[in-house]
C-alpha cells in the first residue's frame, strides 16, 4: 500500500518535473543512457542524459535491440535485432552515426554484441540461416574500420546475448536454441527439437570450452550478465506456444558458477508466474551482490539477492524491458515502452518521462 502510494506520487510528479537522482554530486555529469526507441513507425537510436533529457535521436532503417559502448572511446554500437542485418556505430558526443556495418550475405544479427576489454574486437552473434541456422560469432576489428576478420562456430542455434568473463578472453554466450529464417519472418521453426544452453567460448582458440544445457527443453536462455567474481546470471524465456498443455511455473533465472550446472534462483511459484515466461533484461551490480531482471509481459521488475540467490523484491512497471546499473547511486534504472525511466533500489521512483518515446528492449548506462 505504502509502495503504491509512493509510486503514484512519483508518477504524478514525474509528469511535470524531473527528480534529480539522490546522491549525485555536482562534479560528474549525470550518466548518458542509450537505447533504441520507436516513435510510431520510426526506428531511432536514442541518447538520453538523465536530468537533461534527449541528447540525440537518430532515425535508422532497422529496429535495433541492444546498444553497447566501445571501451576507451566515445563510440557506441547499436545492433539490429533479428532478422536485421545492420550495426550502427554512433559517436555519442557528437550524436551522429559514423558508420553502418552490414552482415554477410545469408547472415543476420541477433541484436547483441560485446567488445574485447581493450575495445578492439567486436564479437557479434550471427545466424547463418542458409546453413540450417548455425549460430556463429562474427569478429570485427574496430581498429580497422570494423572489418570482419574471423568467425567462430558455436555448434548450436540462436546465440543471443553474450558477455566477456573477468579473465578477458572467455565469452559467456546465451544460446537460445530457436531456429528462425528471414523468409519465415520471426517464426520459430524448431520448437520440437530446440536445445538451449549457456556456452563458454575461448576467443583465443575459437573453441567452445563448456556447455550447460537449459533445465527444460522449452526454456530458451537469452539474456545474461557477468559479475566480477565470474558468476553468470542468465534469464530465460519459456516457449509456451510449444506447450499449450503445460503451464510452466518453474524458474526463469539461473546462476552458473565455476564447473557447477545452472542453478535456479529461489522465488515463489507466484513470483515466477508473475514474470509471464519472459525475461527481457538481466543486469548485475558492480559487486555482484544484487541483480535485476525485467519482465515486460508480466509488467514486473525483480530485484535478486545474489549469494543467497533469491528474490528480494518485485515491483510492477508496465511494459518494462530495458535495465542498467547506476554505479554512483548503487541502484538500477529501468525503461519501458511508455517512455518512462525509473530508478529501482529500496523503492521504485519515476525519474523521467520521454514523451512519445517507446524505449526498446535494452538500455545501456554510460558513465
Amino acid at each position: 500500500m505504502h509502495r503504491r502510494k509512493f509510486l503514484q506520487l512519483a508518477m504524478a510528479g514525474g509528469a511535470l518535473s524531473v527528480l534529480p537522482l539522490a546522491g549525485c554530486g555536482t562534479k560528474s555529469p549525470q550518466p548518458l543512457l542509450l537505447s533504441g526507441s520507436d516513435n510510431g513507425d520510426q526506428h531511432t537510436l536514442c541518447g538520453w542524459q538523465l536530468g537533461q533529457g534527449e541528447r540525440f535521436r537518430l532515425p535508422v532503417e532497422q529496429r535495433v535491440h541492444a546498444p553497447l559502448m566501445r571501451p576507451y572511446s566515445q563510440q557506441a554500437v547499436f545492433v539490429a535485432r533479428r532478422p536485421g542485418t545492420l550495426i550502427y556505430v554512433v559517436d555519442v558526443q557528437q550524436g551522429v552515426i559514423e558508420q553502418q556495418l552490414s552482415a554477410l550475405p545469408d547472415r543476420h544479427f541477433y541484436g547483441h554484441a560485446i567488445f574485447s576489454t581493450n575495445g578492439r574486437w567486436l564479437y557479434v552473434p550471427e545466424n547463418a540461416y542458409a546453413e540450417q541456422g548455425r549460430g556463429k560469432i562474427g569478429v570485427y576489428d574496430a581498429a580497422a574500420g570494423f572489418q570482419r576478420v574471423q568467425e567462430f562456430d558455436l555448434g548450436g542455434i540462436g546465440p543471443h546475448q553474450l558477455a566477456l568473463m573477468p579473465d578477458g578472453f572467455t565469452l559467456a554466450i546465451a544460446l537460445g536454441g530457436i531456429q528462425t529464417h528471414p523468409e519465415h519472418s520471426r517464426d520459430k521453426l524448431n520448437l520440437d527439437r530446440m536445445r538451449s544452453a549457456l556456452l563458454y567460448l575461448d576467443t583465443r582458440s575459437g573453441q567452445v570450452t563448456a556447455r550447460f544445457d537449459a533445465p527444460h527443453r522449452h526454456v530458451s536462455l537469452r539474456h545474461l550478465d557477468v559479475a566480477k567474481d565470474g558468476t553468470v546470471m542468465v534469464g530465460a524465456q519459456f516457449q509456451s506456444s510449444a506447450n499449450p498443455d503445460e503451464s510452466y511455473t518453474g524458474p526463469l533465472v539461473f546462476t552458473q558458477r565455476g564447473k557447477h550446472g545452472l542453478q535456479a534462483l529461489q522465488a515463489s511459484d507466484e513470483s515466477w508466474q508473475a514474470q509471464k515466461h519472459y525475461i527481457a533484461s538481466v543486469v548485475m551490480n558492480n559487486s555482484g551482490t544484487l541483480a535485476i531482471t525485467t519482465s515486460p509481459r508480466g509488467g514486473v521488475v525483480n530485484i535478486w539477492q545474489l549469494g543467497e540467490d533469491r528474490l528480494l523484491k518485485q515491483y510492477r512497471v508496465k511494459d518494462v524491458a530495458g535495465a542498467g546499473y547506476l554505479p554512483a547511486e548503487g541502484g538500477f534504472v529501468v525503461s519501458n515502452g511508455l517512455g518512462q525511466l525509473f530508478s529501482v533500489s529500496d523503492e521504485l521512483q519515476l525519474l523521467e518521462h520521454a514523451v512519445s518515446t517507446r524505449w526498446d528492449n535494452h538500455l545501456l548506462v554510460n558513465v
Binding site: E270, A280, A321
Partner: protein
Amino acid sequence: MIGTNQISLQALKKSSWLRWPLLAVFALTLAACGKEPAEPKLLAHTAHEVIVPLYATLDAEAVKQRELSQAFCQAVESDQQQSLKQQLQNQWRATMSAWAGVQPIGFGPLDDGNLRWKLQFWPDRKDLARKKIEALIASDDELTAARVASASVSVQGLAALEYLLFDTSGGALDGYQNGEQASRRCLLLQAVAERVQQVTRRLLNEWSGEINKPGYADTYSQPGADNPLYQNNNAAIAALLDTLVVGSEVVKRNKLGIPVGKDVGHAKPYRLEAWRSQHSLTLMRASVTTLEQLYRGNGGFGLQDYLLEATKVDAALLRDIDESFKAVNAQFTQIEGPLFTQLKRPEYHAPLVELHRRLNVLQSNLNKLPDSLGITLGFNSNDGD
C-alpha cells in the same frame, strides 16, 4: 447490501462531478456545441456503467458469502448445517461467477499487489491449495482474516474457498462436524471468506472512488497530460482493446483449450477452472458476457457504437465481431456440462471443439481492432527477443 452499494455509488458519481470543476465547464461547453466527442463518452460509460457495476456485484456476492459462512459455522444442528452448507455452496457459485465477470478486465487496481491471485490462485497445477490449507489448519496459528492475508495466495481467495466447500475430503460436511480440526476448519472458512470480501470491497472502492478521492474509473475516463496512467484517449482505449484481445484468448486457451486437449485421450479435466465444483462452463460464459458487455456497452455507448461512429474501422470487421459473439453464445447453449465428467467422453468432444473454434474466430476478429484503429497494444510486452 446491494441496495446500499448502489445508492452510495450514485452519490459518489454525482459528487465526483462536483469535484472536477474543469470537467463540468467542459461538459457545459459540449452541451452548447451540441455533439459530445465520442472518446470521453466511451471511456466514462465503460468505466462507470460497465466496469464499476461488475465490481459492485462481486462485492455484494462476497458480502453474502461472508455472512453465510458465519451462519454455517454458528449452526449447531446437523440438518441446519447441511442446509446452510448447500446454500453456501450455491453462494460460492454466485460469487465465483461474479468474479469470472471481473476477471477479464485487464486494467485497474486488480493488477496491483497481486490482488488477482489473492482472489483466485489459478491454475494451481500442484494442488497447492490442499497442501497449504491443510498445513495451516494443522498448525497452531490463529486463523483470522489477517493471518489469511499474510499467507500464501493458495490459501486465500475463491479457489481456497472452493477447496473448503467442495473437496471430497477437505470440504466434506463431516470435517466441519467431527474430529479435532472441525472448529479450526470453520474458522479458516470464515477467515478466507472475510478476506475475500475485504479485497472485493477495496477493489470496488478503488474503482468507484471514495468521498474525498476520485477513483480509477475517473482516472480511466479522463485521460490527459497530467494523468499518470492514461496520457491520451488512445492509451485508455488501448487498455480496453487489450482486455478484449487477452480476455478472449484466456477463455479460449486457458479455460477451454488446455483442458479439452487435442483429443479425448489428451483431455485434462483437472486443468479446468473450478473443477472441484464443476462450475467451469458457467465461468467461461460469465467471462464472455463481460467481454461482450465491454464491446457492446451494456445498453449505453460502448466500443461498438464508438467504432461505428468513428468510421475508422471497416464495417465488415464490425459485422464479423458481432456475428462471432453470437456464434459463441449459440454454441454455449449446445453444451450442458459439467465439463469435468464430459471431457473424457468422446460423444461430448465435438461441441467443445466447435466452441473452441468459434472462440478462436472471435479472438482473431477482436485482434484486428488495434491495427485498424492505429493503436499498438504494449511494445515490449508484445515483443519476443
